[in-house]
Every structure is written in C-alpha cells, then in structure tokens.
C-alpha cells in the first residue's frame, strides 16, 4: 500500500508506470473513436466524389487554394510546436513548455481566423448550402452537396480545433501553477496526441477539398 501515498498516483493504480501506460492507452483508444467519427464523414465524401466528380471539381474551384495552403502550413507548424511542448514537459522545463503552449495556441487561433475569413467569403458568394445557395455551373445541386460536405467536414474539424485551443489554455494554467513535471506530464502528452490527430484530419481534408481537378 506504500505506493498509493505518492501524490500524483491515483488510488486505483499500483505504480506510476501503470498509471502512465493506462492514460496513454486511453488516449489512443479515444483517438480511434475520433478516426471512426471523422471516418463517417470521409465515407460520405468517398461515396459521392466518384458519382459527381465534375460538380465537385467545379465547386472546389471556388475554394481559395492560397488560404487553404497557408492554413495547412500553419497547422503543421503548430504540430511541431506542440511536439516541442511535449518534449519540454518530458524534460520538466516549465519555461519552454509555457512558450511552446502559447505558440501552439496562437497558431491554432491563426488557423481558425483564416478559416473564418474563408467562411465569410463563402457567405458573401452565396455558397452556403440552403435556400440562399447560388451556383452557376452545370450541376448546382451536387455543387451544393460538395459545399455541404465542405462545411460539415471543416466545421467538425474547426470544432475540434476550438476544443484543442481551450485545452491548451487549461494546460497553460496548470503549467503556471507548477502542476506539470517530468513525472506528471500525461495531460500534456494526451493533448499533444489529440492536437496531432486534428492535424492529420486536415492533412486529408486539404487535398480532398481544395485540390480537385485543378489542372
């Protein structure tokens, strides 16, 4: 019973090692549920894309490849800073940890800001699905289907980003209060895994949505 007296060890665990292995496994399992969650959306996309390829391409040309590309870079950069944050936590360096957390948050917010600009353009161009949708092309119905998917997929992704930024803020508070150490950095690691996962989703969204039939 001596082991339970350790301050960061929860009573159901026998050792820190067991606790860390459990937390990490739990996070990976959670990410699997996220794969399946986004997987539903990807399935919808994969079903419709071959059926209405031309309409999808025509609609995709209304997306801003520049902004999309910049956002991809921003997100990849944020993954890097996140990885650096986890590394700082592993080494117990609280100063760098705080810096990298702030950087990651800023990059995340940049991404969301750019996304917001893109959404506003779509709104102004009447490309929001619904009664106000206007599209001059051969197959406006399936162009609308494309934009439905575009908003569903990027919207879900953005929601995950917002949650991620919130969690990062909470981590920052924990760091400032000295609650993160080389012994107890599971939360940082889990947040990192989550953040990288969200990045991976975007790595697929970018070519699937922005890069159709550009030649």
């Amino acid at each position: 019973m001596a082991s339970t007296s350790h301050p960061v060890l929860a009573h159901q665990f026998e050792s820190l090692e067991q606790q860390r292995a459990s937390t990490s496994l739990g996070m990976w399992v959670f990410l699997v549920t996220e794969i399946m969650f986004f997987g539903g959306l990807f399935t919808v996309y994969i079903v419709y894309r071959p059926l209405y390829g031309e309409a999808f391409a025509a609609a995709s040309h209304h997306l801003d490849i520049g902004l999309g590309g910049i956002n991809t870079a921003v997100l990849i950069l944020s993954s890097f800073t996140m990885a650096m944050a986890v590394r700082s936590a592993q080494l117990g360096r609280r100063g760098p940890l705080a810096v990298f957390l702030v950087l990651t948050m800023l990059l995340g917010l940049t991404f969301l800001g750019i996304k917001g600009v893109e959404y506003r353009h779509k709104f102004e161009e009447h490309l929001i699905p619904g009664s106000d949708f206007r599209f001059t092309g051969v197959d406006p119905r399936h162009a609308q289907l494309f934009f439905s998917l575009y908003f569903a997929m990027t919207g879900m992704h953005a929601l995950h980003m917002i949650i991620g930024v919130g969690v990062l803020g909470w981590l920052l508070v924990l760091t400032r209060r000295g609650r993160i150490s080389a012994e107890q950095y599971d939360v940082v690691e889990c947040t990192g895994l989550y953040w990288h996962f969200v990045d991976i989703v975007w790595i697929f969204l970018f070519p699937l949505l922005y890069l159709i039939g550009r030649h």
Partner: protein, 99 residues
C-alpha cells in the same frame, strides 16, 4: 517506463519534410496526370500522416499494443468504407435493373 525523448533535430527534420510535401502536393495538383492526380494527392497525405503518427505522436517508440490500437482504427475505417463502396461500385454487376 523509460521515456524516450526525441531530439529537436528530428522534429525539425519532420517539420521540413511535412512543409515540403505540402508544397509538392499543391504543385502536383496543377499538373494533368489523369487518375494519377488523386493517387498522388492521397499518397502524399498518407505519407504525411505516417510521419506525424510515427514521430510527433511517438508511435515509433510506443508499445505493440499502441500499434495494435492504431491499426484497429484504420482497419475498421477500411471496413466502413470498403463495404459501403462495395454496394455503390457493384450496382448493375449482376444484371438486375436498378440494383
């Protein structure tokens, strides 16, 4: 459990590769390669994903169980997509009108 600390150099290298791949994928999209366009875009995305998982997410230094969990996620996604597509692709194969 010994924690594996990845050197900064590795992270920076991965970052550089990921950014270059992003540029490449945009470039490739503007070339007319026919069906290959889609294959190229997806291949590059998969490579980027694998790099992120292996290095940023430390899968390379994780237990076999973690590998198994990740594999399960992709296998089940594969089930969802392939058995759904199995319907759409095979419409009309058996010469039944409308099905």
């Amino acid at each position: 459990m010994s924690v594996h600390v990845v050197p900064v150099k590795t992270y920076a290298l991965i970052l550089a590769i990921l950014l270059s791949l992003t540029m490449i994928t945009v470039r490739v999209a503007f070339m007319d390669l026919g069906v290959l366009n889609n294959i190229a875009a997806l291949t590059i995305a998969v490579i980027k994903m694998v790099l992120v998982i292996l290095y940023f997410m430390h899968l390379r230094h994780s237990s076999r169980l973690t590998w198994l969990v990740v594999a399960a996620g992709f296998v089940w996604l594969g089930i969802l997509i392939s058995l759904t597509m199995n319907d759409y692709v095979s419409r009309g194969w058996l010469g039944v009108p409308g099905k």
